[in-house]
C-alpha cells in the first residue's frame, strides 16, 4: 500500500511568523490593487448593452463568439432570438463608460466582430439599447450579511461541540480565506460574476471543513496525551491529519485543474478562485487557525491551555496537573490563570 506522509513529524507551527508575513503581503498587494483598480464587476452587476442583429445567412454561434472575444467582448451572452439568423448579444466592454457612449462603443465592436465572422454587409443591426444589471443591488449586501451571520452560527456551534476558543480560531481562519481570496481576485483582475461569488462561498465552506478536521484531532489528542503542551499537540495533530489533507486536497485540486484547463472561458474564473481557495483553505487551517488558537489560549487560558503561555517548555503544565488540591474557598476557577504558574 502507498502511504504518503505516514509518520510525518514536521514542526509546522515554528514557521507561523513567516506564514503570517507571507499572507499579510499577499493581502496588502491585493488591497493595493483593489483600491487602485477597483472591482471588475461582471455585466450581471453593472449592466451593459444589448445588440440585436439579423444575419443574411446562418453562421455557427461558435464563430460569432470567437469573433466577439477577439474584439474584447469576452463573456458576452449570445443567443438566437426567435429564429436561427436572429441574434441577441448582451455584452460590456471592460472599463467603458456606460450610457450612450458605452452603447455606441459596444455596438461598434459587435459590428466589427460581425464583419469578421459573417462578412461585411451580411448582417443588419436591428436595435441597440442599454440593459440594466441582472442582479439586484440588495444581493451584495445580503450575501455579506449571510456570511457574517454564518460566522456567528459557526462560533456558537463550535463553542458547543468544542470550546469557544476553537470556534473563534476557526472563524478567524475562515475570514482570512475570504480576504485572501478577494485579494487574489483583485490581483488577477478576475471578473466578479455571480459564479465567482458562488466560488468564494464554496471556499468558505471548504476551508471551514478543513479547519474542523484538524481541530477534531486536536480535541482528541488533548484528551489522549495529557503531558504534552498545546504547541506539540497542534503540530502532532497537523502531522497526523497530513495524509488525509494530501488525499482530499489532491482529489479536489484534480477536479478544479480539469475545469481550469479544459472547461473554457465561462468556467475559468470559477476554477481560478476555487484553485486558489483550496490552497488558502489548507494554508489557513495550518497557519492561521492553529497559531490563532495558540495565541487565544495564551491570552485567555482555558482548562486545556497547557503551557500555551510558555510553549516549548513542559514544566508548568506538569506542575499544574500535579498541583495539590485546593480548598473550595480559595480555589480559583479552572478558567482563571493558575497562581502556581
Amino acid at each position: 500500500m502507498i502511504r504518503l506522509f505516514a509518520n510525518a513529524n514536521y514542526d509546522f507551527i515554528k514557521w507561523r511568523r513567516q506564514a503570517f508575513s507571507l499572507t499579510g503581503a499577499i493581502m496588502l498587494v491585493g488591497l493595493i490593487f483593489l483600491v487602485t483598480r477597483g472591482v471588475n464587476y461582471s455585466i450581471e452587476f453593472t449592466g451593459g448593452t444589448l445588440v440585436q442583429f439579423e444575419l443574411a445567412h446562418k453562421v455557427p454561434t461558435g464563430n460569432i463568439r470567437a469573433a466577439l472575444d477577439h474584439v474584447g467582448l469576452s463573456g458576452a451572452d449570445i443567443y438566437n432570438f426567435g429564429s436561427d439568423t436572429s441574434y441577441v448579444v448582451r455584452a460590456r466592454l471592460a472599463g467603458q463608460a456606460t450610457g450612450e457612449a458605452g452603447t455606441q462603443a459596444v455596438a461598434d465592436a459587435v459590428a466589427q466582430a460581425l464583419d469578421q465572422s459573417a462578412g461585411p454587409g451580411q448582417y443588419q443591426i436591428a436595435q441597440r439599447q442599454t440593459v440594466g444589471p441582472k442582479v439586484g443591488r440588495e444581493l451584495q449586501g445580503k450575501a455579506l450579511m449571510a456570511i457574517l451571520f454564518s460566522f456567528v452560527v459557526t462560533l456558537v456551534y463550535l463553542a458547543f461541540r468544542f470550546e469557544w476558543r476553537f470556534g473563534l480560531a476557526a472563524v478567524v481562519a475562515t475570514a482570512h480565506d475570504i480576504v485572501a481570496t478577494i485579494a487574489f481576485i483583485s490581483v488577477m483582475h478576475l471578473e466578479v460574476s455571480l459564479v465567482v461569488v458562488g466560488a468564494v462561498l464554496t471556499v468558505v465552506g471548504y476551508s471551514l471543513n478543513d479547519t474542523i478536521i484538524i481541530f477534531d484531532r486536536v480535541r482528541e489528542n488533548l484528551r489522549k496525551y495529557r503531558r504534552q503542551n498545546l504547541y506539540e499537540i497542534l503540530n502532532l495533530s497537523i502531522n497526523e491529519t497530513l495524509p488525509r489533507s494530501v488525499l482530499t486536497h489532491g482529489t479536489t485540486i484534480a477536479t478544479t485543474l480539469a475545469l481550469l484547463i479544459l472547461a473554457g472561458e465561462v468556467i475559468r474564473p470559477f476554477a481560478w478562485v476555487m484553485t486558489f481557495g483550496i490552497f488558502t483553505g489548507t494554508f489557513s487551517s495550518i497557519y492561521i487557525a492553529a497559531p490563532v488558537l495558540l495565541w487565544i489560549e495564551k491570552r485567555w487560558p482555558g482548562e486545556d491551555a497547557r503551557g500555551a503561555r510558555t510553549f516549548g517548555s513542559r514544566a508548568p503544565a506538569a506542575a499544574a496537573v500535579s498541583g495539590p488540591p485546593a480548598t473550595p474557598s480559595s480555589a480559583p476557577s479552572p478558567r482563571a490563570p493558575q497562581p502556581a504558574r
Binding site: 500500500m1 444581493l139 462561498l201 465552506g205 471543513n209 465561462v266
Partner: protein, 541 residues
C-alpha cells in the same frame, strides 16, 4: 447477516426513490408553433431536471407599463420599481435562475429557462396585487341613488333590455326584508329602471347580484362617465372576483363600497397560504405591520357589525366578511374552493409587494441557450476528466477500498441529481462545474475513514476491529465539519436572495448525499466484504 440485509434494503429503497424522481415525465413547455410562428404550450416528455438559460434557452418576455387604463407619468421610475417587485416574486419560485433586467428606459426583460408552467409565471409577473380593505355601503347610499342613475340612463336614451321578470328572480334570494324593499322600490319606479332592473339585492347591504350573461352590459353601464357622476359621494362599485351560482343560474356579485380603503397592502408584512381543515377552504393568512395593525384595529373597532370587502386588483375576493370585533395585526383572506396553488401564488405576490403599475407583455420569443454547443462540450469534457482523475487517485491509493468508495460515488451522483430534480433545481453550466467539484470533495469522508482504518491497523488491531473503529473514530470529524457547513448553508438560504439560495440548496443536498453514500453505503460494502472473506488477513486499503 440480518443487519447487512437491512442495510441493503435501505440502500435499495433510496436507489428506487432516486430513480423514480429521475424518470422522464411530461412537462409543459412554451415553443413556437411550426406553421403559424405563434407561441403555444406543448407537452414534452423529458428528464425532470431543468436546464438553465445558458444550456437550453427558454422564453423571453418583454414587459412595458400598461398605459391603456390611464397614463403613467414617469415610466422609467415605474419600471425600476416594477423590476424590484418582479425579481422578488420570481426569486420566490426558487432556483430557476431567471434573468430580470431593464432594457432601455421603459422596458423590462424577463427570461425564464424552460419554465415548467409559463402561463403561471406570466400570471405572477403581470399581477398587480394591489390589496385594500373597504367597508361596504352600509347606509345603502347607492341603492337610494339608483333611481337617479336610472334617470340619467333614461335621459341618455338607453332602454331596458332585460327579459326576466325581476321579482321572480329576486325571490330566489330568500326572504330578507331588504330584498322585499328592493322589490318594492323597483315597483315604485313603475317602469323598470335600466340599471336597477339588472341588479338584485344580495344578502348584505351594498351587495348586488347580476346574472352572469348581463355582466358585460352592466359593466359598460356603470363605467359611463354620466353614471359615475351620478354616483353618491364616497361610494364606488367593485365586481366580485368569481361568479357564483344561486339555484340554477350563475351570478356575478357587484359591491358598493366606500371609496376610502381602511387599509392597503402596503402595511402587509407577511402572507402565507394554507388550507383550512374544517371548511376545506384555501386561505391566505396575513400579518400587518405595527403601524398597519394600529390603524386596522381602530377602524375595525369603529365598524363592528359592518361588512368589509377584501379587494385585490379591483376585484372583491369572496363574500365580504362581517367584522365581529376589533381585529389586530393578523387576518386572513378566504379563497373558497380554489386550489391551494392559487392561494400560494396570491400569498407570494402579496409578500413581494404590489406592482406600481400594471405591466403588459409586448414581446414573447423563444431563445436558444446563451452558451454555444462548444462551451457545453468543453464543460462536459472537463467534468469527465475531473471525475476520472478522482477515480484514478482513489483506486490507485486505496486499492479495493478505493474502488468501494468509487462505487459509492456513483450513488452520490444519483442521489444528488435526484435531490436536485425533487427541488425543481435548474442546472446551469456553472452549476455543473460545482457538481464536478463536489465529487472531488465528496470523497473526503471516505479518505478520513480509510486513513483512520490504516491508523488502527498500524496500532495492531484486527481487521474487523480496525474497520469498526476506523468508522467510529472518523465520525466525530465528519459530523462536526459537515454540520457546520450545513449550518452555514442554512444561513445563506435564510438571509440570501435568489442565486445565493440556489447555491445553499445544492450545497445541502450534496452534503447529505455524500454522508449517505460515503458512510452508510461504504460501511455496508465493507461489512459484505469482510463477511465474504472471514479469513482475510490484510485489507486492500
Amino acid at each position: 447477516m440480518g443487519k447487512i440485509r437491512q442495510r441493503l434494503y435501505i440502500i435499495g429503497a433510496l436507489i428506487v426513490i432516486s430513480i423514480i424522481s429521475l424518470v422522464p415525465r411530461n412537462t409543459k413547455q412554451r415553443m413556437i408553433e411550426a406553421g403559424t410562428g405563434r407561441m403555444k404550450d406543448t407537452t414534452v416528455r423529458r428528464l425532470p431536471i431543468n436546464l438553465g438559460l445558458d444550456l437550453q434557452g427558454g422564453i423571453h418576455l418583454a414587459l412595458e407599463v400598461d398605459q391603456s387604463k390611464g397614463p403613467v407619468p414617469d415610466c422609467a421610475d415605474a419600471i425600476q420599481r416594477a423590476e424590484r417587485v418582479v425579481r422578488t416574486r420570481i426569486d420566490e419560485f426558487g432556483t430557476t435562475e431567471p434573468v430580470v433586467q431593464i432594457q432601455g428606459r421603459c422596458r423590462l426583460i424577463v427570461e425564464l429557462a424552460g419554465e415548467k408552467d409559463p402561463a403561471r409565471a406570466k400570471g405572477v409577473i403581470q399581477r398587480t396585487a394591489f390589496l385594500e380593505f373597504r367597508i361596504t355601503d352600509m347606509k345603502s347610499l347607492f341603492k337610494d341613488a339608483l333611481p337617479q342613475v336610472d334617470g340619467v340612463l333614461r335621459k341618455a336614451g338607453i332602454k331596458s333590455r332585460t327579459t326576466a321578470a325581476p321579482s321572480a328572480v329576486a325571490q330566489l334570494f330568500g326572504d330578507t326584508s331588504k330584498t322585499k324593499a328592493e322589490r318594492d322600490s323597483a315597483a315604485d319606479a313603475n317602469s323598470p329602471g335600466v340599471l336597477s332592473s339588472l341588479l338584485f339585492q344580495g344578502q348584505m347591504a351594498g351587495e348586488f347580484l347580476v346574472p352572469e350573461e348581463q355582466w358585460p352590459l352592466v359593466d359598460s353601464l356603470i363605467n359611463r362617465p354620466d353614471v359615475r357622476a351620478a354616483m353618491p359621494r364616497g361610494i364606488e362599485l367593485r365586481w366580485g372576483a368569481q361568479s357564483e351560482s344561486r339555484g340554477a343560474r350563475a351570478y356575478r356579485a357587484l359591491y358598493a363600497v366606500e371609496s376610502r380603503p381602511i387599509i392597503t397592502g402596503e402595511e402587509l408584512i407577511k402572507a402565507v397560504a394554507r388550507r383550512d381543515q374544517s371548511t376545506n377552504q384555501s386561505i391566505v393568512a396575513f400579518q400587518l405591520s405595527r403601524r398597519g395593525a394600529r390603524i386596522f384595529s381602530q377602524e375595525t373597532a369603529r365598524h363592528i357589525g359592518d361588512f368589509m370587502a377584501i379587494i385585490l386588483d379591483g376585484r372583491v375576493q369572496g363574500q365580504p366578511p362581517v367584522i365581529r370585533g376589533q381585529i389586530g395585526a393578523n387576518g386572513q383572506i378566504e379563497l373558497g374552493t380554489k386550489p391551494l396553488q392559487e392561494a400560494s401564488d396570491l400569498a407570494l405576490v402579496l409578500r413581494a409587494g404590489a406592482l406600481p403599475a400594471p405591466l403588459m407583455i409586448v414581446d414573447e420569443r423563444t431563445i436558444s441557450g446563451t452558451l454555444g454547443a462548444d462551451s457545453i462540450h468543453d464543460g462536459v469534457l472537463a467534468g469527465v476528466v475531473g471525475v476520472v482523475l478522482v477515480v484514478v487517485i482513489m483506486v490507485g491509493y486505496y486499492r479495493l477500498s478505493g474502488a468501494l468508495a468509487v462505487a459509492a460515488l456513483t450513488l452520490y451522483c444519483l442521489f444528488t441529481l435526484a435531490g436536485l430534480a425533487a427541488f425543481g433545481f435548474t442546472l446551469t453550466l456553472p452549476g455543473l462545474a460545482g457538481f464536478v467539484l463536489s465529487i472531488g470533495i465528496a470523497v473526503d469522508a471516505n479518505v478520513l475513514i480509510f486513513e483512520r482504518i490504516r491508523e488502527e491497523l498500524v496500532h495492531g488491531k484486527s481487521l474487523r476491529l480496525a474497520v469498526d473503529d476506523g468508522f467510529l473514530h472518523a465520525m466525530n470529524a465528519i459530523v462536526d465539519s459537515n454540520v457546520s457547513t450545513i449550518l452555514t448553508a442554512l444561513i445563506l438560504y435564510a438571509v440570501g436572495t435568489g442565486p445565493v439560495q440556489g447555491f445553499a440548496i445544492t450545497l445541502i443536498i450534496g452534503i447529505i448525499a455524500s454522508m449517505v453514500s460515503a458512510i452508510f453505503v461504504v460501511k455496508t460494502l465493507f461489512l459484505i466484504w469482510l463477511n465474504r472473506r472471514p479469513d482475510m488477513v490484510t485489507l486492500s486499503i
